[in-house]
Amino acid sequence: MADNTNSANQTQKKQFYKKKHREQMKHQVITFAMMIAFTMLAFGLVMAEVDAMFTVPIILVLAAVQVLFQLYYFMHMAEEGHEWPAAMIYSGVFAAVLTILALTIIVWW
């Protein structure tokens, strides 16, 4: 399992990775900024007492997008080696959606 490449190669690789990581980090900071913006937008809509019919779907979509940001950028779900994690998360989401639908729609009052 251990890396068998020689050390010169190693340093070169390291440099390359470092650069790559810095790139990634930039993306992540942008992501973060957008998440904060979304949050402010959502709170803003509610505090401004915009009509509920309009607000609720929007804030739900904003939340969903934020979560995708977290999953794909912060948790790297887009990178290779994440096929199974993605499959399992989406299976979980499938079960989750059914559960929530059931408990909101076919529960009487």
Binding site: D3, V46, V56, V67, F74, M75, P85, M88, T99, T104
Partner: protein, 206 residues
């Protein structure tokens, strides 16, 4: 191989997945998070079913203070970013900086938890909104409390990792541990995004 996993330095690009044990941890933890999705979905579903069952107790609309929640949200989101920084330094094999950013993450986590406790105390004392007040209150405290418990557990976990490894730096044995702890921390954030949207914002809208 066994003993070299404890040697620090000279780590491959993805140290968390460089060993079989690391890959197992990584996969297993992601799958666990898949299960957690259903766990929280069940709690959200229950909450949604009961959110209007306030009986005599106060409604969400009456008690939720958005300012505090906004502050909590920003703190938690920021802590997510700081843990990304920690992982960034982990991948660059810079243990000191990783510890530093993890430290900041922990501090933010405590701030969040403190505010949450303050919030609960405030509801109980000022609004008489206790766990047994109504079905709504029970559902509220259970959902938000489960999240809070996750935060608390995450804090203990990260702290113990930091203390345990403070002297020996990063290696192939502890890198996966740090990595999944940070995944956990992000997941907590994911849940919170839905909590502030579904519980607080939608509660306020009515």
């Amino acid at each position: 191989m066994a003993e070299d996993v404890l040697k620090s330095g000279n780590l491959p690009e993805n140290p968390e997945r460089a060993t079989l044990e690391g890959r197992n941890k990584f996969m297993g933890f992601w799958f666990f998070l898949g299960g957690e999705v259903v766990l929280f979905a069940s709690l959200f579903g229950t909450y949604l079913a009961l959110r209007n069952s306030t009986v005599d107790g106060p409604t969400g609309q009456e008690i939720f203070g958005l300012g505090l929640v906004f502050l909590m949200t920003v703190i938690l989101l920021t802590s997510s970013l700081t843990s990304v920084y920690a992982m960034y330094h982990m991948k660059n094999n810079d243990f000191k900086k990783m510890q530093l950013w993890l430290g900041i993450t922990v501090l933010l986590g405590f701030a969040f938890l403190g505010l949450e406790i303050y919030e609960f105390v405030h509801y109980v004392n000022d609004y008489g909104f206790g766990f047994s007040t109504s079905a709504f209150s029970t559902a509220f405290y259970t959902l938000v409390g489960f999240h809070g418990a996750h935060v608390a557990f995450g804090l203990l976990w990260i702290i113990s990792l930091m203390i345990r490894n403070r002297k020996r730096g990063l290696n192939l044995y502890n890198a996966p541990k740090f990595y999944i702890a940070s995944l956990y921390w992000h997941f907590i954030d994911v849940v919170w995004v839905f909590i502030f949207t579904v519980v607080y914002l939608m509660g306020k809208v009515g």
